[in-house]
Symmetry: C2
Subunit: 340 residues, 2 copies
DNA sequence: TTGAAAGCGCTACCAC
DNA sequence: GTGGTAGCGCTTTCAA
């Protein structure tokens, strides 16, 4: 592969006899060139294999076309769907997602925010409402619209597209109670890293406590328990300690599935011996046997809505509008794993 | 949020009394400033809330620090792990992944390549070895190292970190045959979009044909069947047509799980009545009941190796070395779903 | 509709 | 170790 210098606009200009300014205009949908001129220029550009240098264009126009998006994990189907919704919602506006993930670590989040701001995104989307002080500082002084998503922060930085994770926990606790379960546990939700999982647990525990039930069947670890294997292991330990547990909510459908497998291995019938509920409406919840009761927040729709918020915020030159604060409904999906 | 102009290097220079050139040097690990100077400058930068403009830096230095990565789907744990391995492998070299996904569509891939090249990445990673002619053209003339991964292209563009998908199919076919199964089917692998799945099917079919077995139990659709629901539906149809099928490989563990659920719903015992095998070593394969026989290619390791290839290619100023062509081993993991 | 000049914010290069 | 100059490739602005 001979390393030839990449052609620039001047090269296209030289080849066509126009100024590079005209080439610039012709290459955008930006009107103001004659059709004839544009055709000549596009032809020449094609012939030269010219590709616009977005780096230079961004520097000059102060519009990079990037939207920075920070999620906890790229290996989480919920966030993956949100990114899809976001990408698709942004597609026609010439904005491109620049993705980063934190592995559920707040200091990694801070590092990432700083790195991504270096790219001069036109907006920044971040998961959750809890950040380091320094991170909040970066976000505040970035000068671009910020969207916090997947949570309902007490003091939002700017826009919010999220829901109360505590409410999700409450809804599920009530459902299990209504189904007649009384020895109810929860698996997952570490306070330090999986903040939203911890919120779900908090809401869950509050509610079963309100119902006068015991709140000691709570399994947690210093790591987020969001995997199948983690749920399976946790369920073993929970059952070892409290063999008479009759219902468990897990912080995620994945851990719920793992927990369910553990129950089946131990000869427990679901939901007769024990009920299992999850969160997130992952594929597995609809396809497992039995199907798993879960809560759907519409991961993809969150992304779509974030895209709308960004587009309207970027269009609003006067900054006259208040920040958006969109509350996503948390929909309980009752399935066989909790409904006998 | 008052919209204040973002501070630049000149602002930091002015505040400290140094030239912006010295500020530039101090901000990089790039030595050649006194410690005292650097401390003053970093302090001032911090005070001003200065964040480097990577756009301008990239334009000037001709190093954007981007590595463009194109995967079929962000909702696929295999590719997600590869991206993780890649990101981590690149972390300390100051390179950042710029991710795009194609939804398994070749024309979308072409569009994406063009868009991403606009960002002037220092290297480009793409999934698979089949691309549109125009796409190959873009890649060839991009002037940056290209890595094709997850496949073993007959005529590589540049570097390759992959494996033969056909071989994976052959390995599984042989395994099923060795276990004594004789009425063997395959689910998934559309030729047009899931090219690698189709390669697995091809290798699989070749092998069962070599063994003298019938090759009519092949279920396919015009969509990639890589989901649990897709596998479940396909299995129903396959069993309706060929109720005596005794073994099935699916293009993915996810569809294998769906297929297995269908079998269980229909009262079939696995692996006694029917064996199920998948591909990809997804979490579900290790956690389902029974556990699912699969093939592991080490998705994360692929990313790690790609990172190494990129780093060494970028370090090799003379372009003296031949393109890398790394063959990833395909490891059969025998589990209960095929081993009675 | 087109062009010339200026400059986006940074770094390469060469001086000192 | 530090600074001046030039310029990366494009778009903005103003003029014709």
């Amino acid at each position: 592969m001979p390393k030839i210098k990449t052609p620039t606009m001047s090269d296209v200009a030289r080849l066509t006899g126009f100024s590079s300014m005209t080439v610039s205009r012709a290459l955008r949908a930006d009107t103001s060139t004659s059709d004839e001129t544009r055709i000549k220029i596009l032809d020449a550009a094609d012939k030269l294999g010219y590709v616009l240098d977005g780096t230079a264009a961004g520097l000059s126009s102060r519009k990079t076309g990037f939207v920075a998006v920070i999620i906890p994990s790229i290996n989480n189907a919920n966030f993956a769907f949100t990114v899809r919704g976001l990408t698709e919602g942004l597609r026609n506006s010439g904005l491109q997602v620049l993705l980063g993930y934190t592995d559920y670590k707040m200091d990694e989040e801070e590092r990432l925010v700083k790195t991504l701001l270096t790219r001069r995104p036109e907006a920044l989307v971040i998961t959750g409402g809890v950040h380091t002080e320094r991170c909040r500082q970066y976000l505040y002084s970035s000068g671009v619209p910020i969207v916090e998503m997947w949570d309902s922060p007490p003091s939002p930085i700017d826009h919010v597209v999220g829901f109360s994770n505590a409410r999700a926990g409450r809804i599920m606790a009530r459902h299990l109670y209504d189904q007649g379960y009384r020895k109810i546990g929860f698996i997952g939700g570490d306070t330090d890293s999986d903040i939203r999982g911890a919120d779900r647990r908090r809401g869950f525990v509050e509610t079963i406590s309100d119902f006068g039930l015991g709140t000691d069947r709570l399994w947690q670890s210093d790591q987020p328990v969001l995997t199948m294997a983690g749920g399976a292991k946790a369920m073993h330990e929970l059952l070892d300690q409290y063999p008479d547990t009759d219902a468990v909510m897990c912080a995620s459908d994945l851990s719920a599935f793992g927990a369910m497998m553990t129950c089946q291995k131990r000869g427990l019938t679901i939901p007769d011996d024990i009920a299992i509920a999850g969160f997130g409406a992952y594929d597995i919840s609809a396809n497992a046997l039995p199907e798993i009761t879960t809560i759907d927040v519409g991961a993809r729709g969150i992304g779509t809505q974030v895209a709308e918020v960004i587009k309207s915020s970027l269009a609003d030159k006067t900054h006259s509008k208040d920040p958006a604060n969109i509350d996503i409904p948390t929909r309980l999906i009752v399935r066989k794993s909790t409904a006998g």
